[in-house]
């Protein structure tokens, strides 16, 4: 099975079967090594030709949907955007995303994130009652530019898989959620910064983060969640100093 000839590569895929009580085990599969094949193509080949019981998620195959994240050779990656040839001669390890409970094989349970995300209120909050019916909210290119980077997130969870703090303390809000809070804070149409700060100023908000910076390194969309978290700390610190110096004014 482990044929490491020129046009083959071994994929060492972690298998986990929830109906058995055993911990996950790596299983080797040989797949053709074609220049334009991604890790996801390799998995699809295994599923089609060798073992149809292999479970993994994917959809768009073009780095948009964010569902194909896995740990490839220990690094969280979008498998549809990761080429097998970069891992030649192999074997290349394909594991489920780290820091999440594993449902089956390469499928992880991200409910924890789905539960956290609404807590930072990632939507536009107004303190007046202007609605879409009253017309469009206009923005200048500069105003768009202020938050655009943070709006590119595809919820692929690579940053959570890379974050040791999240692995150690699952209560930590985590990179993508905080970056999305920042995305709305920086939006000129939004007035919800204070509401979000009240959530993030808690210990489980931003303070557990020790600026490892791995989230930013692995993010396929260059969102820079680590930067967003540090800027949130600066914001929280500013607010606290203000509240300390001007107890009244801060009550706005």
């Amino acid at each position: 099975m482990t044929d490491e000839s020129d046009d083959n590569i071994t994929m060492r895929v972690t298998r986990y079967r929830p109906d058995k009580n055993d911990p996950p085990v790596p299983v080797d599969y040989g797949v053709p090594l074609r220049k334009e094949w991604t890790v996801l193509d390799g998995l699809n080949h295994i599923k089609a030709e060798q073992d149809e019981s292999l479970a993994f998620r994917w959809s768009c195959r073009m780095g948009i949907c964010g569902s194909c994240g896995m740990n490839v050779d220990g690094e969280p990656r979008l498998t549809c955007a990761t080429f097998l040839s970069d891992y030649a001669p192999g074997p290349v390890r394909v594991e489920p995303l780290a820091n999440f409970p594993v449902v089956k094989d390469l499928v992880v349970d991200i409910n924890d994130f789905m539960e956290k995300l609404p807590r930072v209120k990632p939507w536009i909050i107004r303190d007046d009652d202007v609605t879409e019916i009253d017309g469009e909210y206009l923005q200048t290119p500069e105003e768009l530019d202020a938050y655009k980077q943070f709006s590119m997130c595809i919820n692929c969870m690579l940053c959570y898989a890379a974050c040791p703090v999240y692995g150690l303390d699952p209560d930590f809000m985590g990179p993508a959620a905080i970056a999305l809070a920042e995305r709305y804070d920086l939006d000129s149409r939004d007035h919800g910064a204070r509401e979000r700060l009240d959530v993030l100023i808690e210990h489980e908000g931003v303070w557990g983060c020790t600026f490892v910076g791995e989230c930013t390194r692995v993010c396929p969309k260059h969102v820079d969640p680590a930067g967003a978290i540090q800027r949130y700390k600066v914001k929280a610190a500013k607010e606290s100093v203000m509240a300390f110096l001007l107890p009244r004014a801060a009550g706005r």
């Binding site: 150690l168 610190a237 100093v241 509240a243 801060a250």
Partner: protein, 117 residues
């Protein structure tokens, strides 16, 4: 109303101390911990040092620097113990780290005061 939390203020001190340690400590360490003891440069005479530390401005600057650097170190080391060694007694660790920093700051205050002329 913004919630009152101690974390933002501690973090602010941590950051200030990080800047202080990055900018002020290298030259101080290079001179006093390496160059003078190893004889690369002759250490200043006692009178010169007593003069320098006797100046109120030196007193103020060092009294500003030492405590923030100690709190920076305490805060960071606290998280190193939490994350790197997964120490479970979190409150105890926090008390030892910040307590140590406060004790050091107090010692600095006393001796800096004694060195004033």
């Amino acid at each position: 109303m913004t919630k009152r939390r101690i974390e933002p203020l501690v973090w602010l001190t941590f950051s200030g101390g990080g800047v202080a340690a990055a900018t002020f400590l290298p030259v101080l360490a290079l001179l006093f911990a390496l160059a003078f003891p190893l004889g690369w440069i002759d250490p200043p005479s006692y009178d010169r040092m007593a003069d320098l530390l006797g100046h109120p401005l030196t007193f103020l600057v060092l009294l500003g620097l030492f405590p923030v650097m100690l709190i920076h170190a305490a805060h960071r080391f606290r998280y190193t113990l939490y994350d790197g060694l997964q120490v479970k007694h979190k409150l105890l660790v926090a008390m030892l780290c910040y307590g140590g920093a406060l004790a050091g700051s107090f010692a600095a205050l006393v001796w800096l005061g004694n060195a004033l002329t």
